[in-house]
C-alpha cells in the first residue's frame, strides 16, 4: 500500500494500537477470571493468597460432573449428525445446480444462523408438544429432544462452513477422475473428501462448541432429569459470585486453547504436505 502517502490518522500504527486496546478489553475480564480461580478470597476483590481449593470443590460437585458428561455426550452426537446433514446440504447447494426446493433449502439453512434462540426454543418445544399429542412421542423432553433441536440449528453452521470450502475446491479434479472412469461416489470419496476434510473438522469443532454453549434452546425443550452444563452454570452464576465457576471457566479455557494450538499445528502441517504433494505431482506430471 502507498504507505508514504497515508495520512497520520489512518496510518497502520494507530490502527494497530486500537486493535491492541480492543483485544486487551476482550481478554481482561477472562484473564481476571482465571486469576481469581486461584484466589483464596471468595469476594475476588483482591488477591489474598494462592489456592487450588475451588478446583477441588468443583470436582467434588456431582451435579456439575454429571451435567458436563451429559453435555459432552449430547454435543458429540448432535454435532456429528449435524456435520453429516450440513455436508449433504453443502454438496447439494454447490454441486447440484437445479432441483425442486432449492430456494426453500437455501432459506431454511441460512435462517437458523440469525434466528433468535428464544424463538427457536419456543417453536421447537411447541413441535414436541404437538408430536406428543399426535404420536405419543416424546413422553417428556430430555436427551432426544435436545438432540433434535441442536442438530437443527447446528447443521446450518456446518453447512455454511463446508459449503465455503467446497466452493473453493476445484471441481475439475473430480470431473477428471470421472472422465478417467471412476464413479461419482468414488471420485467424491477419493478426491473431494480429502480436500474438504479440514472444513469437516472445523465444522465439527464449531458444532461442538455451539452445542456445549447453548442454554436457551436446551432449556425450552428439556424435561425432568436432563440438566446440561450451561443450565448448571446459569443457576450458579445467576445468584452471585461463585468461585467454582471461575475454576470451571479456566479449565474450559485451557482445554480450548490447547485444542486450538494443536489443531492449528495439524492444519498447518497438512496444508504444507498438501502443497508439497501438489508441487510434486505437477513436476512429475
Amino acid at each position: 500500500m502507498a504507505k508514504g502517502k497515508a495520512s497520520p490518522f489512518l496510518r497502520v500504527n494507530y490502527l494497530m494500537i486500537f486493535l491492541f486496546i480492543s483485544l486487551a478489553l476482550l481478554y481482561i475480564p477472562i484473564i481476571l477470571m482465571v486469576v481469581n480461580s486461584f484466589n483464596q478470597s471468595t469476594l475476588s476483590t483482591s488477591f489474598t493468597g494462592f489456592t487450588l481449593g475451588w478446583y477441588g470443590n468443583l470436582f467434588e460437585d456431582r451435579t456439575v460432573l454429571e451435567a458436563a458428561l451429559l453435555s459432552l455426550q449430547l454435543g458429540t452426537v448432535s454435532t456429528t449428525l449435524a456435520m453429516l446433514m450440513g455436508g449433504l446440504v453443502a454438496i447439494a447447494l454447490v454441486r447440484i445446480p437445479k432441483f425442486l426446493g432449492r430456494l426453500l433449502l437455501t432459506t431454511m439453512i441460512t435462517a437458523p444462523l440469525v434466528m433468535p434462540d428464544v424463538i427457536t426454543g419456543l417453536t421447537q418445544t411447541l413441535l414436541f408438544n404437538s408430536t406428543k399429542v399426535l404420536f405419543g412421542w416424546p413422553d417428556h423432553g430430555g436427551f432426544g429432544t435436545i438432540l433434535i433441536a441442536h442438530v437443527t440449528f447446528i447443521m446450518a453452521y456446518s453447512a455454511v462452513t463446508i459449503q465455503s470450502r467446497l466452493l473453493t475446491a476445484d471441481s475439475s479434479l473430480e470431473e477428471a477422475a470421472m472422465d478417467l472412469g471412476s464413479g461419482p461416489v468414488r471420485a467424491f470419496v477419493e478426491i473431494t473428501l480429502p480436500i474438504i476434510s479440514p472444513a469437516l473438522l472445523s465444522a465439527w469443532l464449531l458444532g461442538l462448541t455451539l452445542s456445549l454453549d447453548d442454554l436457551v434452546i436446551a432449556s425450552f425443550v428439556t424435561g425432568p432429569g436432563a440438566t446440561t452444563l450451561p443450565m448448571i452454570i446459569y443457576s450458579k452464576i445467576r445468584v452471585g459470585i461463585s468461585p467454582e465457576m471461575n475454576a470451571l471457566a479456566s479449565i474450559i479455557l485451557g482445554v480450548v486453547a490447547a485444542g486450538v494450538v494443536i489443531s492449528s499445528l495439524i492444519m498447518a502441517r497438512s496444508e504444507k504436505t498438501r502443497i508439497s504433494e501438489e508441487a510434486k505431482a505437477l513436476k512429475t506430471g
Binding site: 475480564p29 428464544v118 399429542v133 436457551v216
Partner: protein
C-alpha cells in the same frame, strides 16, 4: 425373517426377485435400463432429501405450529391451550380461531402511541435512565408490556450495533492491513473467546463491572468518581454486555470484505491526488459495505432476541423481548400469547433476515 432367509443370495446379500421368472431376457434388460436411468436421474435426491425433509419437519413445521397455537386461548390444562381444530358430530372439521392474543398486541401498540406524545422527553428519559435501576418491573405496571419490551430490545440492538461497528471497523481494517503472517494470529485471538462458554464470558464481564470490580477500582484510583458506580443491574450494563459479546461478529465479515479490497484502487486514488480520507470514504467504505451490512445483521438480529445478557446484567427492570417470551412461557405458562408475540417479532425480523440472506447468498455464489 424366514421369508428373507429363503430369498436367493447374491454375494451374501439378500436379493428379492425383481422380475417375474417367465419374462424374456430383453424385457429384463429394458427394466434394468429404465431402473438405472431412474436411479441416475434421481440419485441426487439421496443427497437432497434427508436434510430437506429434516429441516421441513424440525424447522419449518414448528413455525406453522406456533402460528396455529397463537390463534388459540390460554387455558389451565396440558397442553395449556385450546384446540383450534376439532371434529364435529357429523365428522366435519371445525376451526376455532381466537384473535385475542393479537388483539392484545394491537391494544399495546395503540397504548404505546398514546404514550409517545413527546419524543423529546422519551430521549431524555432514556439518557437519564441508563444508570438508574428501574424500581418496578415493567410487567407490574399498567401499560404496554409487549411494545415496551420491543422498544427496549430495539434500542439495545441499534445502539449495540452502532458501537460494534465503531469498534469493529478499525479492528477489521487493522487486521486486513497487517502482514499475512500476523492475520491468522489476530483472527484466532478474536475467535478464541467464542470457543469458551458464552455464560462464563458474561460472568467474567460481571466481575469487572461489579462495584468492587476492576473498572470501579480504576476509576476511583484515577479520581474520576468518589464512590463506586453502580453499573450492574442497569440498562448500561446490558448495553456494554451486548457490545462485548457481539463485536467479534462484526469484525469477521468486515475483515472478509476488507481483505479482498484491491490496494491498487487506493493507490490509483492517491496518484490521482485524492486525500487519504477522501480515498477511504469514496473507495474503501463503499466496497466494504456488504461486510458492514452482513456484520450489522449478524449483530443486530441476535441482540434483538437476546435473553441471557439482559437477564444476568439488567436486573428485573430491563424487560426485553427475549425475557418477556421466556417469562411468558416458563412462569405464566401462556403459550398462545408467547406464540403470538414470537410471530409478531418474527414478522419484524423478516426484513433484516432477508437483507442478511440476500447478501450472504450473493457473497457465497459470487
Amino acid at each position: 425373517m424366514n421369508q428373507l432367509d429363503s430369498a436367493p443370495k447374491l454375494n451374501g446379500v439378500n436379493v428379492a426377485p425383481t422380475s417375474p421368472p417367465l419374462a424374456s431376457p430383453s424385457l429384463v434388460a429394458k427394466t434394468l435400463k429404465t431402473l438405472r436411468k431412474f436411479a441416475s436421474n434421481h440419485a441426487k435426491w439421496l443427497i437432497i432429501a434427508p436434510p430437506l425433509l429434516y429441516l421441513i419437519a424440525f424447522f419449518l413445521i414448528p413455525f406453522f405450529l406456533a402460528l396455529k397455537i397463537s390463534l388459540s386461548l390460554s387455558i389451565l390444562a396440558a397442553p395449556p391451550f385450546t384446540e383450534t381444530l376439532a371434529r364435529g358430530e357429523n365428522g366435519e372439521y371445525i376451526f376455532t380461531f381466537h384473535m385475542v392474543n393479537y388483539n392484545e398486541l394491537i391494544h399495546d401498540w395503540n397504548l404505546f402511541w398514546q404514550d409517545v406524545s413527546d419524543l423529546g422527553s422519551t430521549v431524555v428519559n432514556w439518557v437519564t435512565g441508563l444508570f438508574r435501576e428501574v424500581e418496578t418491573p415493567v410487567s407490574d405496571r399498567e401499560g404496554s408490556r409487549y411494545i415496551d419490551s420491543f422498544i427496549t430490545s430495539l434500542r439495545f440492538a441499534a445502539v449495540g450495533t452502532f458501537f460494534c461497528l465503531l469498534i469493529g471497523y478499525p479492528c477489521a481494517y487493522a487486521i486486513a492491513r497487517a502482514p499475512k503472517s500476523q492475520q491468522n494470529l489476530f483472527l484466532m485471538l478474536i475467535i478464541l473467546p467464542f470457543w469458551t462458554s458464552f455464560l462464563l464470558r458474561i460472568y467474567a464481564l460481571q466481575g469487572v463491572l461489579r462495584p468492587s470490580g476492576v473498572l470501579n477500582k480504576l476509576l476511583l484510583w484515577i479520581g474520576v468518581i468518589d464512590e463506586p458506580l453502580r453499573i450492574l443491574q442497569t440498562a448500561a450494563a446490558v448495553q456494554i454486555g451486548v457490545v462485548y459479546s457481539y463485536a467479534p461478529f462484526m469484525i469477521l465479515p468486515l475483515f472478509a470484505t476488507l481483505q479482498k479490497l484491491d490496494p491498487a484502487l487506493l493507490e490509483a486514488a492517491y496518484d490521482l491526488g485524492a486525500k487519504p480520507f477522501r480515498a477511504f470514504w469514496n473507495i474503501t467504505v463503499p466496497l466494504s459495505l456488504p461486510g458492514v451490512i452482513a456484520g450489522a445483521m449478524l449483530t443486530f438480529i441476535p441482540m434483538m432476541g437476546e435473553y441471557i445478557i439482559p437477564d444476568m446484567m439488567g436486573g428485573p427492570g430491563v424487560e426485553t423481548i427475549g425475557r418477556v417470551l421466556w417469562n411468558m412461557f416458563f412462569d405464566d405458562h401462556n403459550w398462545p400469547m408467547a406464540a403470538a408475540f414470537s410471530i409478531a417479532f418474527l414478522l419484524f425480523l423478516v426484513v433484516p433476515i432477508a437483507i442478511y440472506q440476500y447478501y450472504s447468498i450473493r457473497e457465497r455464489e459470487a
